[in-house]
């Protein structure tokens, strides 16, 4: 049960006030700390648990600059055997290009796998599609939003996908396959600083992104500019008598889809 886990180093932006350059061409991330994408934590943890039970080798793969080595160290500290960094100096914004890179890398370098795990989405771009595109390119079956892996048989996996409204769907999928893992599937273990230091002693392998992209394979979408979303002014206080405000509240609940 060999598993490739895709990991990404992302900026932590939940509480930051981000500054956009005057010309709208870039966002200032210089004072923002980075860490492993939250969803990828769950993916690595799930892979580690499966391999602890069934045996097999986990390979962590990441696309990014040299700093992305940090997430590979973390993956190794959690239980991955190997870490591979596909070094790219420029940020690859287009998920299509990322998937193309990964396909090229996995095929050229012959990385063995029964399954490829990734997180449902990355905290920074919130696209959520790289795993699916990669699956289709590799001609493999795909399932996203995996919230539970119930059983692994010889060439089939029984798993549950998270749907809306608190229900899940149970499906069977043939291996090899690509799965994107949803947060909450497990509780990722804590990795101590000393654990990460130990993991640093495991050699990670470095590759150059240019090797896996064909000439002229550009992105299919491009960011023309960045801008701020319309401002939120604190709570909209509902006005009127109790009857009024409660009716408005019910309206909001219906609009959000939690009340029929």
């Amino acid at each position: 049960m060999d598993i490739i886990v895709l990991t990404k180093r992302v900026p932590v932006t939940q509480e930051e006030e981000l500054k956009i350059a005057q010309d709208g061409k870039s966002v200032d991330l210089s004072r923002v700390p980075f860490r492993m994408n939250d969803w990828d934590n769950y993916a690595v943890e799930e892979a580690v648990r499966l391999c602890e039970k069934q045996g097999g080798v986990i390979t962590g793969v990441s696309i990014g600059d040299m700093e992305s080595d940090e997430v590979l160290r973390r993956a190794i500290a959690m239980g991955a055997k190997d870490g591979c960094l596909i070094e790219s100096q420029t940020v690859v914004n287009d998920p299509f290009t990322r998937a193309l890179l990964l396909k090229g890398f996995i095929e050229k370098e012959n990385i063995p796998f029964n399954m490829i795990f990734g997180g449902v989405q990355a905290e920074d771009d919130q696209f959520g599609v790289t795993c699916g595109i990669l699956a289709a390119m590799l001609g493999l079956p795909f399932a996203s939003m995996v919230i539970g892996i119930d059983d692994i048989q010889k060439d089939t996996v029984i798993l549950r996908r998270e749907l809306e409204g608190g229900i899940q769907e149970r499906i069977s999928i043939k291996t090899p396959c690509v799965l994107s893992i949803q947060s909450g599937i497990n509780e990722p273990r804590y990795v101590s600083i000393m654990g990460i230091r130990k993991a640093s002693k495991v050699e990670r392998r470095y590759f150059k992104a240019e090797k896996y992209l064909d000439e002229g394979a550009g992105g299919l979408i491009d960011v023309t500019r960045w801008f701020y979303p319309p401002k939120k002014e604190g709570a909209v206080i509902l006005q009127g008598e109790l009857d009024d405000t409660c009716r408005q509240l019910i309206g909001i609940l219906k609009e959000k889809g939690v009340l029929q």
């Binding site: 932006t13 939940q14 930051e16 981000l18 966002v27 998920p95 299509f96 905290e123 919130q126 959520g128 599609v129 795993c131 699916g132 595109i133 699956a135 289709a136 079956p141 795909f142 399932a143 939003m145 549950r160 749907l163 809306e164 608190g166 229900i167 899940q168 769907e169 149970r170 069977s172 043939k174 909450g184 550009g218 992105g219 299919l220 979408i221 491009d222 960011v223 023309t224 500019r225 960045w226 701020y228 979303p229 939120k232 604190g234 709570a235 206080i237 509902l238 109790l242 405000t245 409660c246 009716r247 509240l249 019910i250 909001i252 609940l253 609009e255 959000k256 889809g257 939690v258 009340l259």
Partner: protein
């Protein structure tokens, strides 16, 4: 003839409301709207589209990524390439969108929440929704788009005529993936982190006797009851229901905070909720800075009025 193809989402016999955003975007693009639908009997307003393409595959298998791709191949065969392929930004919608993009080598942009006024570029949020990116399509069309819920509803326009009806039959479902069953989440142990709708009570509830009425309210709302730390400290509710720094971190669709002042240890546990509604007697309560909507008033009175309005 340029057209926009919408892949609809039908689940458990319901044409999901999210589809309306796909339709809204398609209408904004001002092209012919073709909607691809699974087999089955379910109510759908036909006037939203120009062409209804019915298939003979049941909804559970229809919604699987490879099968959608097989259907799209047939659609392209018959109707040529669409300019856009639109899906909902949802569990199945985004799953299919990604696979379609890889299968046909198409540009894809997900969670689109707006377009520029000339309908040439698409807006999408980045970095915890702090920044919007304006995206242009540089690759060859069609472009695959998933639409954020609620983003384009205002653009819907009913057609004057009934749509043209088309049928695609004879597609064998992909054998690599199969639907087994739907699973309701078990409610054996209280796990507030899985709830979509939380009604959270704080110190303002006053005393233990007021709580059963909140149980009734959450029953009517199909919501889950949670609370802030003082309520647990007083042993009025079990620790499993506590939201906050030393309790659980939750991200529900709706967080209705009643009688919670907004102490920072509590906010930490729920600030990423999609929609925060606060009810508090104190108009200066810090919670109103984090909430999207608020009611200044007595939480128990609001509770009773909600029950009255919903029961009736």
């Amino acid at each position: 003839m340029s057209y926009t193809l919408i892949i609809s989402e039908v689940r458990r016999g319901i044409f999901e409301e999210r589809n309306l955003d796909s339709i809204g975007l398609a209408h904004m693009l001002k092209k012919s709207v073709y909607i691809l639908l699974p087999d089955g009997q379910y109510p759908v307003n036909e006037r939203w589209s120009d062409v209804l393409i019915k298939t003979d595959m049941k909804e559970e298998m229809f919604s699987m990524p490879k099968n959608i791709c097989l259907f799209i191949e047939k659609v392209i065969d018959r109707f040529k390439m669409p300019d856009e392929i639109i899906l909902t930004h949802s569990s199945s919608g985004t799953e299919c969108a990604s696979y379609i993009a890889g299968y046909f080598k198409l540009p894809v942009i997900t969670d689109v929440n707006g377009m520029d006024k000339d309908a040439k570029t698409f807006y999408k949020s980045y970095y915890s929704d702090k920044v919007y990116g304006e995206f242009s399509v540089t690759g060859q069309r069609p472009v695959v788009i998933t639409v954020r819920s609620g983003a384009f509803r205002g653009y819907m326009e009913e057609r004057a005529d009934s749509p043209k009806q088309e049928i695609i039959e004879g597609v064998s479902p992909d054998s690599d993936r199969a639907f087994i069953e739907f699973v309701e989440e078990e409610k054996t142990e209280i796990d507030i982190t899985k709830a979509e709708f939380l009604v959270s009570v704080g110190r303002g509830v006053g005393n233990k006797d007021e709580l059963p009425a909140y149980d009734e309210l959450t029953g009517i709302l199909n919501a889950t009851l949670s609370c802030s730390r003082p309520v647990v400290d007083k042993m009025w509710l079990p620790k499993a229901r506590q939201v906050g720094q030393s309790g659980k971190t939750v991200r529900p669709k709706v967080y209705l905070a009643m009688g919670i002042s907004g102490a920072f240890q509590h906010i930490t546990g729920m600030k990423d909720s999609e929609c925060i509604i606060a009810v508090n007697k104190d108009p200066e309560a810090p919670i109103f800075q984090y909430a999207h909507y608020g009611i200044v008033g007595d939480m128990n009175k609001v509770r009773d009025k909600l029950k009255e309005l919903l029961k009736g």
